[in-house]
Amino acid sequence: MKTINKYLIITLLLIVGYVSVHSIGASSATTNTFAIDRKGQFVVTQSAYLPDQTYLDVDVNRAVYVDKAFETLRENEYLGYIIDSVLLDQVENQAYLTLEEYFEGYVISEGFADEAEMLLDPTYSQDDIEDAKDSIRLLLKDDKDKLVIPEENDRYLALDAAEDMFIDKNDFIYLVDTGNARIVIFNPIANEVIGIFDNDEFESPKGIYITDDYIYVADTSAGFIDSEGSTDGNGSIFKLDFDGNIVDRFYKPDSASFGQDVFAPKKVAVDSQGGLYIVAEGIFDGIIQLSQNGDFLGYFTKNQVQLTARQRLENLLFSDEQLEGVVDRNPTSFSNIYVDINGIKYTTSHGENISNLKKHNTDGSSSIDTNWGFDMALVDVYTDAQGIMYAAGDQGYIFVLTSDGSFIFAFGTESDEDVVGFYNRLSSIAVDSLGRIWTLDSESAVLQSYTPTDYSKRIFSALTLYKDGKYAEAVAEWEEVLKLNQLSVLAHNEIGRNLYSQGEYEEAMGHFILSGNRNLYSESFWEVRQDQMQKSLPLTMILVISALIVYQVVKRTNKQYAYLDRPKAQIKKFTDIRIVSDVLFMFSFIKHPLDSFYYLKRKEKGSYKGATIVFLMFFVTYMLYTTSKGFIYQYIEPSDLDLGSIILGFYSIFFLFVISNYLVTSINDGEGSIGEVYKGVAYSLMPIMLAMLITTYMSHKLTYGEVILLDLVMNAGTLGTGLFIFLAVQELHNYTIRETIKSFLMTFLFMLIVAVLIAFIQIMGDQLVQFVIALFEEAIRNVFII
C-alpha cells in the first residue's frame, strides 16, 4: 500500500517535471493571449493559438525528468497548479499554491503524510526511479487523451541546443542542431526526419536561411583552416545546395574597412540578389552586409547608443582622457535578421526601451515603432506571406504584429511567474504555409507548434481583405472577430479604418472611440464636420446676412423711436444689483487691470461675495475642463481620474497661496490685507476660466489640425491669469516690480515649507495617535487592574 502511494506521488512529480520542462499540449491553461487595450495596457484576451504538436528530445532518458522534477521542486516552491490542470480534476481552477500548501491539502486528505515527508526528501534510489518509469508509463497510457506523450521512437529528433530553424516552401523544417553540429530536415506532415546534413566542416552552426536555390548556414567557429590544420578563430558562412554539398563559403572579409578583430556570424539572411546580411557575435557596428561574392559592403543598419542622463553629463564635462577611462558605450546588439519574400529586411535586438523589432526601409531606418514601453528582448522574427510579423522574445513570449507594425496579440507565459514555463530559452520562431507557428527551445531542445484558432484566423483574413481593398468584406470578418472578443481594440480600429476607407465616417468615429484611435477619429470627424458645414452653409449665410440687416435696421429706427430704452434700462437695473455688478467686475480687469485692482483695494468695486462666486465659477469650469473635453483632447478618461485629490489639490493650492502670500507680505511692508489678497487672486482667475470654458466647448468641435487654436487660448488664459495675479500682488501691496518678484519667491518657498510640514504632520500623526492610545491603555491598566 505504502509503495503504491509512494509511486503515485513520484508519478505526480514526474508529471510535474515533465510538464514543467516541456509544457505539454494539453495544458493550454498556461498559455495566455494578450492584446493591448485602448489605454495601451496588456489585457488577457481570447486564445489566439493552441499548442499543437510537441517534439521532444526523447533521447534524454526519463531519469532526467525525475531529476528535473525534484530539482524544480526544490527551486520553485509552487507547482501545485500545474499538477491540477494536467492530472487532477479534484480542484478546478486551482490558484497557485505553494508546494507545501498543495501537498498538505492533498496528502492530508488522502492520509499520506509520511509519503509527503519522503517526497520532499531528495534522496531517492535508482530503483525508485526505475519503478517510477514503469508506473508513469502505465498511468500515461490510461490518460492518453489528456497527455500527449511521445512514443519511444516516434518524433525522435535528438536535438542538442538547437539555435535556429527555417521553413522552406515545402513546409519542411530545417533545424540547426548546434550542439551536434548538423542540420536536421524534418517533415512534420509525414512526421519523419527526411535528411541530415552533418558536414565535417560544421563547428557550431547557429543560423540558417534558405532561398529558392541555396541554403545558407552561419557558423560562429568554423574558421579558415590553414595548411597546418589550425583555425584562425573566426567563423564563416556556408552556402549549401539542397543535397547538403558546400557550394561556397564566406570567410572573414579581408577588406580593410572591415575593422573587426573577430568574425563570428551567428545569424544570416540573404536577399534576392544573393547579398548577405549577417548578425555576428561581439560586433556592435551593425548588420554586416556582404555582396554575393563575399565582399564587405558596409553595415546595413545599426542600433543607436542609448545614453543615460549621467552618461550624457559625462560626455559633456569629461576631458578626452577621462572619457577613455569610462566603460565603452556600445549600442544594443542585434539578435537576428530576416529577409522576407519581397526583400524587406527585419531585425530584432535585445535592448531596453528601444524598438526591438524593426522593419527596415532600404536606407536602413525603421518604418515601424515597436517600443512598447517595457523591456522585452527579442531573439527572432519571421513573416508569413501576408507580411504579418511573428517575433519571439527570449522569455517565452510570441508577439504577432500586422505588416505596418501594430500589435495584434502576444501569447506565452507570464515571465515573472516562477512556474517553469513554456520555454527555458526560446531561440527561434518560424511559420509554415498553414499559418502554424513553430518554436524552438534551445535549452530543452523542444520543438513546439501552435495552430491558429478561429479567432486569429479571422483576424488575419480580415487584415488581408483590408489590404486588397475589400472593405465591406473585411468589416464583416471583423464583426465575427468581435463576436469572439467584444473588447478587441484591434477589431474596432480596423473596422473604423475600413469604414473610413469606404467614406462612412460617422460610423467609423464610433469605432475609433472604442479603439482609442484619436488620430483617425480626428480625420473622420473632419470629414463629418465638413459635410455638416457644407449642408448648413446656405442657411448660415442667410442667417448672418439677415442678422446684419436686422441690426442695422434696429440701430437706425431706435434713434428715432427709442424703443430699446426700456429693455436697456431693465438690463441696467439687473447689472446694477450689487452682487451682479461685483461678479461682472471681473471683466473690467481686461481693459483696465491696474485701475480695477485700485478700485478693489479702495473697496469701491468688487466684494467678498463677488470674488467667492467667481472662484466657485472657476472651480466648476475647472472640473468641466478636467472631465468633459472632446474625445480627441480628453487624454485621461474621467473614470480614471482621482477626483478627490484633484479637488483637494485645487482648493489647497489656492488657499495656501492666499495665506502664504499674506503672511509673507505682512512682514514686508505689504499694504494688502488677507481679504484683499483673496479677492485679488480670485478675480485674477477670470482669464483662465474663460480659456477653459472656450477650450472645453471648442474641443468638441475641433480636430487635431486646429489643436493650435486651443493651445493658444489656453496659453493666453494662463498667461493672463499669471499676469493678473502678479499685478494683484503688486497693486494691492503697493510694491515695485522688484519687491513683487521677491514676494512671489518668498511665497512659493513658504508654500513649500507648509506643504512639507503638513506631510510631516500627516505621517507623524498616526504615530502620535498610537502613542496616546497606548498611554491611555497603560494608564487604565495601571489604575484599574492594580
Partner: protein, 323 residues
C-alpha cells in the same frame, strides 16, 4: 437767387450784397483749390489701390487663365467662392489653420516683441541705442536675402547644417533632421524666423514715439504716487504714444498675413512640403502664378483683403483716437 435791382438798394444794402457775392466766390474758389489739392492723391489711390481691388473683385467672379478672355462663372459668378469654402480641401485643412497659427503668433507676438524691444532701447543712452536699433531693424530690411543665406544654412537638412551638426555632436539626435522639408518643423521655423525679423517699420515708429513722451509727465506722475514702471507704462507711456501703437499694430497685422514668402524661401518649393507651411499668400501664388487660375486666386485675394480689413478695424478700436 432772385434778381436784385442794385439801383433800388441803399448803400448799406449794396455793400452787404457785394460781400455776400464775394464770400460765395471765395467758397467756390476754396472748393476748387481743395479738389486740386487732393487730385494727385485721388488719382494715385484710384490707380494703384481702388482699380486693382475692383479688378480683383471682378476677376474673382470669373474663370481666367491669362489666355482666354475672363468668363463669368455660374451661379452669379460665385463659383470660385463656393469652391473655396466647400471643395478646396488643402485650403480648409492646411492653409486656414496654418495662416491662423502663423498670424496669431507672429502678429501679436512680433508686435509685443517690437514694443518691448523699443521700450528697453528707450531706457538706454543714445549711442548704443542707435547701434542696437539698427541691428534690430536690419533683419526686416534684408529679410529675403538673409533667409536664403543664413537660415537655410542653419536649418539645412544634411549633417553639415549648423543646427543638425550641433544636435548630432551633443548626442541629442541620432540622425540629421530634415528641418525645412519636414511638416513637423517647417511652420515653427517660419514663425521663429518671422519673429526674428519682425522689428520693422512699426518698431522704429514705436521707438520714436517712446522717445517723444514728455519726461515731465513721469515726474508729475511720481509726485502723484506712481510706484512702479508698470504703472508708468500703462498710465503714461501707452496713452502718450497711441498713434505709433496703432501704426505698429496695423503694420504687424498686414505683415503677419502677407509674410508668405518665408515658407517658400525656406523650403524652396510651392506648395510647401505636404502643405505644412502653406499660408494664404502662398495659396494665392500657387493658383495665380503656377496654375494660372487667376479667377480663383483673385477670389482668395478678396477674402484676404476682408480678413486684413477686419483685423485692422479691431486695431483701430483698440488704439484709435476716439472723438
Amino acid at each position: 437767387m432772385a434778381k436784385v435791382d442794385l439801383s433800388k438798394m441803399s448803400t448799406e444794402e449794396r455793400e452787404l450784397h457785394y460781400l455776400k457775392l464775394a464770400s460765395l466766390r471765395s467758397k467756390r474758389n476754396e472748393k476748387i483749390s481743395t479738389a486740386l489739392l487732393v487730385t494727385p492723391y485721388i488719382l494715385l489711390f484710384t490707380t494703384f489701390i481702388v482699380v486693382p481691388i475692383i479688378v480683383a473683385w471682378g476677376l474673382s467672379l470669373t474663370h481666367f487663365d491669362l489666355i482666354q478672355a475672363p468668363k463669368l462663372t455660374e451661379p452669379f459668378g460665385m463659383f470660385n467662392y463656393v469652391m473655396l469654402i466647400t471643395q478646396d480641401e488643402n485650403f480648409l485643412k492646411y492653409v486656414i489653420p496654418n495662416t491662423i497659427k502663423f498670424a496669431i503668433i507672429v502678429g501679436p507676438g512680433g508686435y509685443i516683441l517690437s514694443f518691448v524691444m523699443a521700450w528697453m532701447l528707450s531706457q538706454i543712452q543714445a549711442g548704443p541705442r542707435k547701434i542696437i536699433s539698427l541691428a534690430l531693424y536690419t533683419p526686416s530690411m534684408v529679410g529675403g536675402v538673409f533667409i536664403s543665406v543664413v537660415w537655410r544654412t542653419v536649418f539645412s537638412g544634411d549633417v553639415d547644417g549648423y543646427l543638425n551638426a550641433i544636435l548630432l555632436n551633443s548626442g541629442m539626435i541620432d540622425e540629421a533632421i530634415q528641418f525645412l522639408q519636414s511638416p513637423d518643423y517647417l511652420l515653427n521655423i517660419m514663425i521663429f524666423v518671422s519673429l526674428w525679423s519682425s522689428m520693422g517699420i512699426g518698431f522704429l515708429a514705436m521707438l520714436a514715439g517712446l522717445l517723444n513722451v514728455d519726461k515731465t509727465l513721469y515726474e508729475a506722475a511720481l509726485v502723484d504716487g506712481i510706484k512702479n514702471r508698470f504703472q508708468e507704462i500703462i498710465y503714461i507711456t501707452i496713452p502718450q504714444m497711441k498713434p505709433q501703437m496703432l501704426f505698429g499694430a496695423v503694420m504687424a497685422i498686414v505683415g503677419a498675413f502677407n509674410a508668405g514668402y518665408i515658407g517658400v524661401a525656406l523650403s524652396g518649393a510651392n506648395p510647401t512640403p505636404q502643405y505644412s507651411g502653406q499660408l494664404i499668400i502662398n495659396h494665392i501664388d500657387d493658383f495665380g502664378f503656377i496654375r494660372y487660375e487667376m479667377g480663383y486666386a483673385a477670389a482668395i485675394s478678396v477674402i484676404l483683403l476682408f480678413v486684413i480689413a477686419g483685423f485692422s478695424t479691431v486695431a483701430y478700436a483698440l488704439f484709435g483716437e476716439k472723438e
